[in-house]
Structure formats: C-alpha cells, structure tokens
Symmetry: C2
Subunit: 477 residues, 2 copies
C-alpha cells in the first residue's frame, strides 16, 4: 500500500488535485491540510460580495467540507503544516489537538499567495482591510451595510459562523480610501461607489492596472473618474493615521479624512513552508516546477499561486497567479499522482477585469522591457474601433493594443478595453499566442461578423492590420 | 500605360478591391460597374432597419458614390455588364446611354449572390418580400410603419430616393408569414414580433438555422416560441395565394391568413455573367479561384459571394458567402492587381446570429456528412455550462458543441448558443481551427476568468474536457 498523497492548502489547486487523484485512484489515501477554517473560496468574487451583488458569503464557496468528505478526501481544516522533511518524506502538522507527523508518498504544496503588507505605518489600525480572507471580507460587507438593512443570512455559510456583530451595529462609513490601483483596488472602487461612499484611490504609478498597459490604464482612469472616484495617481501613501481606528490617510499632497481603508497592493507567493527544504525557487520568488508540476525535490509537487509555470510566449518560467491555471495545474497533478501523467499546461497571462461598465483584457507579453528580456524586439500599435456595425445601437469604442516581434512578426501579446463584450475577445488573442501566430495570421482570421456583435472588421483585426502595416514599413525601409 | 482594372459589382468585394488597388497604385485606372443604383450596402443590417433599430436607410450604406469618386475610382451605377470576352480582354456593358465595350487589363467578378426563388406558386404576388435589395427592404419598413409614425427621413439616403409612398399610406399589417428558418427568417421574426405582428415561421426541416446544428437549432426554436413566433417546422409551404396581393399561405396543415410574406430560403452565387467564358466553377456552383483570387482564366479574378474559397479545416474549396471574407478577398485582390500579391485568405465558416436575445455562433465543419466527405471520422459532444461564475448575477446557460476527428483529436468545428456574450466566444474556436489545434490543446488554453465574464472553466473549456474524455475512452477501448 503506497503512502498517502498529502496536500498542503485547501483552495483551488489543492482541492482540484485531491479530487482528481481520488477519482482516478480511489484506493489511494488523500489527505488535505488547510491552515484556516475556509476551503475552496472564490477570491475573485469577494469584491462583488462586498458590493452586494453576491447575496451570501456561502455563495463564494465552491465546495463544502461535507462535499470534500463525500469525495473520500481526508480533509483537516485548522491544521497548519509547519515543516516538510523531504528526506524522511513526512510533514509536521499543528492542529487543534497539538503537533504530529504525517508521512507522504507524494506531496503537493498548494499554499497560494499572501497579500503584500504595505510598507507604510498604520496598516494594523482597525478598519484597515485587505481583500484576501473571508473574515475581513465579511467584516467589510457588514461595515458597509446600514443597520436597518442588516441581513444575517448574508454572513452565513454551510459550516462557518462569522462574527460580524460589531460591524453590523456601527454606522456605515461615508468615506473610503483604497491603497493600490490594481485589480482589487479597481473592483473595490466599484463596490464602494455603488454604496454611495466618497472614494479615494491612491496609486504610486501614473496609471491604474499596470499589467494592462497604458491604453487600457488610460481608459480605466477615465472610467473611474466618470464614476466619481477621486483618483490620486502618482501619489504614494505615507501613512495611515488614527487612534485605534484609522481616520485619515497621509500623502505628500496632504491629509484625507476617511472612515475605512482598503489595502490592495498585490500578492506574493506564499512559500515560507518550503524555504529550507532544498526546493528551488525561480527569480519570481515562486516555486520552480517542471511540466508535470514537480519541484526540484523528489515526490514534491507545487501548484497554484505559490508556483511558477511556463509562459506560452517566452517558454520561460513566469509567475502569474490566477484561478484557471491554479485549478488546471492541480487537476493535472492529481492525475499524474494517480499514475497517468498529465502536463500542468502553460500560461499566457490572460486576465480580464471589470472596471464599472468597462471591460478590460490582457494576454501574453505586452511590457516592452519584459519582451526584450525574453529576446524579442517589440513593436506595438494601439487602435480604437467599434464593437458593432456603426449603425447598430450599442456600438462601443473598443481600444486594442497588439505587441509583436519586429523581426518575425510573431504576436507577443495584447490588451483590450471597451464597454461591449470587450473582455471576452481577449480569448482570441490568447488562442493565437498558443499557436505562435504572426500578426499577418491574426489579420487573416475568419472571425465573426454580424451587426449586433461585431463590425465587418473586428477591432482585433483592425489592430492586426495596422500593426502589420507598421511591420511592413519597417522591413521596406 | 496598362489597361484599366475593371470591377463588376459595387458592393463589399468589388469596392474593397477598387479602393485598395487605387490606394496602392494611384496611376492605375480603376472602373467599377454596378447594375443597380445601390453600392456598398450592408445586407446584414437590413433586418434591423426593418425592425426600426437602425434609423435610416442611408445608415446601411458604408460608402456613398461621392466617397468612391473621391478615392479616384470611376464608378458607374445602373450599368450592367452583359458579357465578358477573355480573348479580347473586354466586357460589354449596358448603361443608361446604351451599350458599349470596355477593355480591361485585370477584371474582377464581384457579382455577389442572388436570393433563391422559392419553388412555390405565388411568390410574384404583391406584399411578398425578400431581404436582398434595398428597395424591397425600404418598402417593407414603410409597410410596417403606422401612418401616424411615418418619418420620411427613414427612407432618405445621400443619393437615392426611394418611393415608398404607397406602403406608407396603407394600414400596417397584423399577420406575417416567413418562409425559411435561416438567418434572414430568424432575424425577421424578431423584427416582426417587435412590431407586434402575429408571426408564422415555416421551415421544411425540423429545426431552424441548419448550419448551426441541432443543439443551437433547439435553443433557437425555444427562443422563437418564447417570443411568440408560431413555428411550423417540418412544414413545406405549398403556395402563396391571393388576388394581386398575397393574403394566405397554404400548407398540408391548412391555410393561414396573412398580410405579408417574407421569403428567405437562401442564396446562390450570381455567376450567370461568366457562364460561357471558360471560367471554371466548383461543385458549389460558385467560381473556382486560387489563393490569390484568380479564376481559371488569365487576368480574371473573382471575390465575394460569387466565388469559392479554401476551407481552413478541409483545405478544399467551399462556398460560404459572408461579409468579412468578401471584404478581405476584395482588398487582397486589389493589392495583388496593384503589383503586391496578397493571398485572399481562407474561410473557417465562422458565422454568428442574434435570435432575439439568444446569441449563436458556429465555425468550421460541424456536419458529420461534410466531415466524412473531407476524410474525417467525426465525434461530437454537447455541453451546457454557465457563462459566468455561478454566484454572479447574469450567469446564463451556454450550450457548446465541439466536433473533432476521432483518430487525431483535431478540432473540426463547433457551435455555441447562450444569452451572455456567447456569439463572440466562437472566435476562440475559429482561431483554434486556423492552427489545426487538437481538442487537448483547446482544453489547455489559458482563457479569461473573472466572475462577471466567465467561470473558472469557460464553457468552451468544459466542452473540450468532455470531448477529450470521449476520445480517450474510445482509444482505451
């Protein structure tokens, strides 16, 4: 009888691996340790729960512990894995009843990411929130809910009680500050504005959502401002101040009184557990893996936000912590562990974002420095074109940037922003990247045309046509 | 001085070619003959003009004769080309001032398609319409407009007056029949219902929109019925009856009183002009061309709805008359004629359709007989999955069918239907087809995930996963 498959971390990657392994090899013992009491929760849905579009905290959970049990997985919540001993092939675990050792045949590190702590004073004050844990998410929603609209069911789940009484009883805030203009910052701006809060967004750089590039950043800026968000770009927050509870934000431009602060300045791979085990890390700080998700240490796998993956465009390792690739890698590792090796797949860095009514997407390598580092000579063009036939109602200006290699014409990446079905269009580019298409090949794609959905020349085709022209001009000079 | 580039037909393919040639080679004389008084009009927009979503007839025209003039193109409307003499390299033209000969250096046949005439009696009665010409489209809109809402500006264009007085003065119809359940039939059902007409749709086969396959056809059926369209599937119309004006539709099931009939049973390549010129035709009846759009006769090109194109999946010639590929082929031929050869591109057969709020898409080879004829052994799976995260408002059931070759796993085609951004998702499959991707490769695509736009596993990925399972099961048995 083989030793168990032990999984550290009970979210997307970990539970996908455990479930797949158990399904393929029902005899195998599969044990999952989760540090917190929460499993399988949708990070990406948290802003919409705070906003109130998602009714209940429980809606964010895709699996309950009971469902995990029913799959035959031995799940232990509130169990923290303290150390890994690859020589002896066991882990040391701290649970409610004390510490113990568990040996493994295969081990999966699926410890995810942790929110970056802002290097500023005052983040430990009360009413300073992050959007990385269910408890703080629930507290924030409770805080935003007027006492007369309080609905207990919004905070119930199948299996965890969240105590939000203190926040439910307080007067709702009227002014919020957001530190960081990335995904979380932009999504939370929507949540705060929809609840009528005066909202200040602070971002060190000159544009929000840097991974989406300048053209999308510009449109997101305009959207935020139209929605009444007070944007402070190029502005670092020096400190959060208050007496126990935060009550103001200090910047070089002055002081802003606030009732709450949301800090969302990014995440980092959560890899402390395996730092002294001989497991190697990539330049990104995430765990290096091979095409089957194996770390550099025998029988130890890694998946999800704590691990790197091979980038489709560069062929190099990259760290892009997102939900689909975490689920997919976990599932593949579960299958591999069960004896049927399956590659974890590559990442193209595809991401989409809703900024109020603006839909944004990005995929591939769009940053020129990153492209040069990977050996490319990047050229880009940005166009704006209609999303539908000009005469059809609802036609919306759609901004597309395409980046290609000057020498080969290979598509390296792209971004898109617009209010009409823009985000989902990024999948076309992600698919083109997977096939190493050139810009000319993209230009010749037989894409859909019908007045309600697209003009004759889809904005992606217009962008490809323009970029191809630029590449040709360069060659003929 | 080289002989002129002569173009027969002033719509998408013809004017794209003329414009591109003139831009690349401004010295070249470019002459366009258009049989009617209309140029460059959007067929695909006609149903929305009749519905009233598009305000004015002029909105459907993408270029006015003046704009064509400004491009330096010698445009002659109301000039019919009667014959082509490839030996002498001239065409015979009938214009308002009589007949004349025009010699050419290069000739483009861009004569488009013609509406199929239904093989039933009574289609020549008054108030029987097709959706293939601007005049009948304008008359139909006028007929549907209540006299007190008549707005002359809806019938004005920059350069053609349309006399619709007779129809504007009449009482609007209350009952309409549609013969044919293809694109036009479904789109016109929406137009008629939105104007409150009792609407009967007759279709010989058991499902509407056959090129979209059974799963989409089923959803379109349901949508039509929910929208109050009386669907008569599997029902052939025997005759249209009336005394001068149509007043009833006869089928084996009985007689239906109507005020108007819309016939949309398909189109055929309009190739009569070149039938005795030595130009070869494909099995489809459309003109055979090579990768640069050249016919089998020296210096004669063909593009648009009258010509075949190479199918991306089969590599064989196919006839798929749609707007983007017509524009693209015309543009490429214009460039080739100007001295810089450019392939016309292939077709994947990508098409999208709006059926009330249902969005439908199809691409590639989805019909099993067609797949077998091309040498494949087709396998298909159909799934239904959410368009967004389950907890996010607006999540809509999306039906996807994927077809693959059993032996190689190569993706052959797919269809999709759903109410939330379903149509535009077909572009991902069209791109995958262009790269000869296998179902496994599609399953591993890094597609976008964010709760408002897609669940973790996009419906396309779910379909690929299921179909891949089916293919694997087959291999292991």
């Amino acid at each position: 009888m083989s030793q168990p498959f032990v999984v550290v971390g009970g979210d997307a990657a970990g539970l996908s691996a455990a479930s797949k392994c158990k399904r393929e090899d029902p005899e195998r013992e599969v044990i999952v340790y989760e540090k917190s009491e929460w499993i399988s929760y949708a990070h990406c849905g948290m802003p919409y729960y705070v906003k109130g579009e998602v009714d209940s905290l429980g809606d964010l959970l895709s699996l309950s512990p009971r469902e995990v049990d029913e799959r035959g997985i031995d799940l232990h919540r509130n169990h923290e894995v303290l150390s890994v001993d690859p020589e002896e092939q066991h882990v040391r675990v701290h649970g409610p009843d004390g510490e113990f050792e568990q040996s493994y045949g295969d081990l999966l590190i699926a410890t995810g990411a942790r929110a970056l702590v802002a290097p500023i004073e005052g983040t430990d004050l009360a009413d300073v929130f992050t959007m990385h844990h269910m408890h703080s998410t629930a507290q924030l929603r409770a805080f935003l809910t007027p006492p007369d609209e309080a609905d207990e069911s919004a905070f119930e789940t199948d299996y965890v009680d969240v105590d939000v009484t203190e926040y439910l009883d307080r007067e709702p805030p009227t002014t919020a500050a957001i530190v960081g203009g990335g995904y979380v910052g932009v999504e939370m701006a929507e949540a705060f504005r929809s609840r009528g809060l005066e909202t200040h967004l602070y971002q060190r750089s000159d544009r929000p959502v840097p991974p989406f590039g300048d053209a999308v950043g510009q449109r997101v800026s305009e959207t935020l401002e139209e929605a009444g968000v007070e944007c402070h770009f190029g502005t670092a927050v020096n400190s959060l101040e208050g007496n126990g509870r935060v009550d103001r934000v200090e910047t070089d431009d002055g002081s802003q009184a606030v009732d709450l602060v949301l800090v969302g300045i990014g995440i980092r791979p959560n890899t402390q557990l395996v730092e002294d085990t001989g497991i190697e890390f990539g330049d990104s700080g995430a765990i290096r893996i091979d095409e089957y998700g194996r770390t550099t240490v025998e029988s130890v796998y890694a998946a999800g936000d704590c691990a790197e993956k091979t980038h489709t465009v560069t062929g190099d390792p990259a760290w892009v912590p997102l939900g689909l690739t975490a689920n997919r890698a976990g599932r593949a590792i579960g299958q591999t562990v069960a004896g049927d090796p399956e590659p974890v797949g590559e990442i193209a860095g595809t991401a989409v974002l809703k900024a109020f009514e603006l839909e944004c997407g990005r995929t591939g390598i769009t940053d020129f420095d990153a492209a040069r580092e990977a050996g490319f000579d990047p050229v880009a063009e940005t166009i704006t074109a209609g999303s539908r036939s000009g005469y059809y109602p609802g036609n919306a200006e759609t901004t597309v940037t395409l980046v290609a290699d000057r020498e080969t014409g290979q598509l390296l990446g792209g971004t898109i922003a617009g209010e009409d079905r823009a985000a989902i269009r990024i999948n076309t580019l992600a698919t083109a990247l997977e096939s190493d298409m050139t810009v000319s090949e993209v230009e010749r794609l037989d894409l859909a045309y019908a007045p309600p959905f697209s003009p004759v020349w889809d904005p992606l085709l217009v962008a490809a046509k323009v970029l191809r022209g630029t590449l040709s001009d360069w060659r003929s000079n």
